[in-house]
């Protein structure tokens, strides 16, 4: 009995000891943090697997040799790994040349997108003008409309390109812009490129979220509207610019709809080139008749195709984080 009584007294003393209390509180807090970290880890790893699972499959299969592909015991880890798939896919894709022209195409379009859409988004966010609501509804329509429904009219516009009769005036008749990249550039300059509506919307929302005071300060200091836009609003909108840049790069890179509609050359659009890979492997000189083996080359091609995008994303993402400091609205 007395033994337990002694214990209880000791416990009471402990409870009153402030140092012990502090330590207990710290232990609870760190325990809670640990729990949160474990929860976060489990969540992220779990969801990452959902995303990465098929990717792991593709990467692993792209190293399979023929015997690995046919062997029933091989699962994910090849017995005789080979780089043959990559080498052949690299040759057939004409990798550096196609990738180079693709990147020029995508990057220039992205720059135009950012310039045009930020201007338009700013116009919608900060100015009052007649028909504003109606015009903004038009932006929503551009986002929402299924592109298939204006496909034929678009095709006809650029097949016989003759805006306001200008081409008839200077070139003596409508010109055919098919198989070129020009239609995409023209559409993007006029704010109707690939998902431009969404970028306008993002910029609009972002500019609306910025406080008006910084602009008013610039205005009071005598800055013109365009100067304010360039020097005050654009630096503040850096996070949204990076966001739009990433989206535009990626979607333009993956776009197949416009590439097919305007019949842009395979040597510019890498995903179209990749589409031809399967077919050209079946013919001479490769003569690979097993579709399963051909798929391995396609896997390697896919890896080659998405690698630059992943690289660009990782690079831009660092700027994306830096964007926080540069967006310093206050201080």
């Amino acid at each position: 009995m007395s033994y337990f009584a002694g214990k209880i007294v000791k416990l009471k003393a402990l409870r009153e000891d402030t140092r012990f209390q502090n330590e207990a509180r710290r232990a609870v807090r760190s325990g809670r943090e640990l729990l949160a970290a474990i929860f976060r880890l489990v969540l992220i790893v779990g969801i990452s697997y959902v995303i990465l699972g098929p990717m792991i499959g593709i990467v692993a299969s792209s190293f399979f040799s023929n015997s690995d592909k046919l062997s029933p015991v091989v699962y994910l880890i090849p017995q005789n790994p080979t780089l043959q798939r990559y080498i052949r896919a690299y040759q057939l894709l004409d990798y550096w040349k196609v990738l180079g022209s693709m990147l020029v195409y995508v990057v220039t379009l992205t720059l135009i997108q950012i310039a045009v859409c930020s201007l338009v988004g700013y116009g919608f966010a900060r100015f009052q003008f007649p028909l504003k609501k109606f015009l903004f509804a038009c932006v929503i329509i551009v986002i929402v409309i299924p592109l298939h429904s204006i496909m034929l009219p678009l095709y006809m516009t650029f097949r016989q390109f003759d805006p306001l009769g200008l081409m008839t005036l200077f070139a003596g008749g409508p010109i055919n812009l098919m198989t070129r990249t020009a239609p995409m550039y023209i559409m993007t300059i006029f704010g109707c490129g690939l998902r431009s509506g969404l970028y306008i919307y993002i910029f609009n929302q972002f500019f609306r979220g910025l406080p008006k005071e910084i602009e008013e300060a610039a205005f009071v200091d005598g800055a013109g509207t365009f100067y304010t836009f360039l020097r005050v609003m654009i630096p503040n909108a850096m996070p949204s610019i990076i966001t739009v840049a990433i989206f535009s790069l990626v979607w333009q890179y993956n776009d197949i709809f416009y590439a097919n509609l305007f019949n842009i050359s395979n040597n510019v659009i890498i995903s179209k080139k990749l589409n031809t890979l399967n077919l050209s492997l079946a013919g001479p000189p490769d003569q690979i008749l097993d579709p399963g083996i051909r798929a391995l080359y396609v896997y390697a091609g896919i890896i080659l195709m998405i690698l630059p995008m992943i690289l660009i994303y990782v690079i831009l993402q660092k700027r994306f984080i830096e964007g926080v400091e540069r967006s310093g609205i206050v201080g």
Binding site: V50, G57, I58, I141, I145, H148, P153, L154, F247
Partner: protein, 310 residues
């Protein structure tokens, strides 16, 4: 020339001048919209109201009134079903994706090791979202689940013999008197985890950008004033992110519609066996009106609770 212009402008009142500048900012879009979209939509409406015969590069139209629409709604076997199932899918998916992506964005915005890698992984589905790759991914996903040799039938046999039955857990939840419709929604949500994860990459990025644009001083103030994390979330994070919730909702509605069966339906009608452009125009116009209606309802409901600086 420029000097003259500014002289003329200075006679405007400030608000008229601002209106003019605003229109100038927006003008590229107006030109593009009229040139590509308005013209395209008007032509599509024309097509949908007529019988169309193509000859070479040209085509001829014969006005038939609402005949094509009547056919789509009352005679075509699949159209109404495809449309309603897409709309239902959308209604289920959109709130799930919004909550999921906000949740993930908040987690990815915390500081922990491997954050950059985690962010890159969550954005991967967006990088891979091309028709060709999607097809390959489905094949590989099946391979990963089944192994190379396992066939689907052996998989299900194993599952039943081990006794893993999803229905058991569903019944368990039903026994604790969870309302059936909520239960159905939860089960649906769990079954959709794959599609939800792969289709919320964009939303996560948009939310991340929004979270990062919140001034840190706001959090400092809240901390000094003694706000709990819970209060900080509802009083600072959520209102500051709310304009982007509307953006994300618009994006999610449109995206889930474009992934749904309706667009395939339109495409096959136009370029498949039917090869009828006028019916394709009908379907795409109807689906466009449906999406616009849903967006209108959803955004008006949400924007009332949205916080804007001005």
């Amino acid at each position: 020339m420029i000097g003259q212009k500014t002289k003329k402008l200075t006679t405007f009142t400030l608000s008229r001048r601002r209106a003019f500048t605003g229109l100038l900012f927006v003008s590229p879009f107006i030109v593009g919209f009229v040139w590509f979209y308005l013209r395209g939509i008007i032509m599509s409406i024309q097509f949908s109201l007529s019988d169309m015969t193509t000859q070479g590069l040209g085509y001829s139209l014969e006005y038939v009134g609402l005949k094509n629409y009547r056919y789509a709604f009352f005679e075509h076997p699949g159209f109404r079903q495809t449309l309603t199932s897409s709309v239902v899918d959308m209604v289920i998916d959109v709130p799930l994706i919004i909550f999921f992506s906000l949740f993930i964005a908040i987690i990815l915005n915390q500081k922990f090791r491997g954050r950059t890698v985690a962010r890159a992984i969550f954005f991967l589905p967006v990088l891979l979202n091309s028709p060709l790759i999607n097809g390959v991914l489905t094949d590989v996903r099946n391979m990963m689940i089944g192994g190379v040799t396992a066939t689907p039938s052996t998989m299900t046999e194993e599952a039943t013999s081990v006794g893993i039955g999803v229905s058991y857990y569903v019944e368990l939840l039903g026994d604790i008197a969870l309302p059936n419709n909520i239960l159905g929604y939860i089960v649906d949500a769990v079954a959709r985890i794959n599609s939800i994860v792969t289709s919320s990459g964009v939303q996560i990025i948009i939310f991340l950008a929004a979270l990062q644009s919140i001034a840190p001083s706001l959090y400092e103030v809240a901390k000094i004033e003694g706000a709990t994390p819970y209060e900080t979330f509802w009083k600072i994070t959520f209102p500051m992110v709310s304009p982007l919730i509307v953006t994300n909702m618009v994006y999610t509605v449109v995206d889930s519609f474009q992934r749904s069966g309706v667009l395939d339906f339109v495409y096959t009608t136009m370029f498949g066996i039917d090869n009828s452009y006028q019916m394709g125009a009908v379907y795409s116009l109807v689906s466009m009106v449906a999406v616009c209606g849903i967006l209108l309802i959803a955004t008006t409901a949400v924007s009332k609770r949205t916080f804007y600086q001005n």
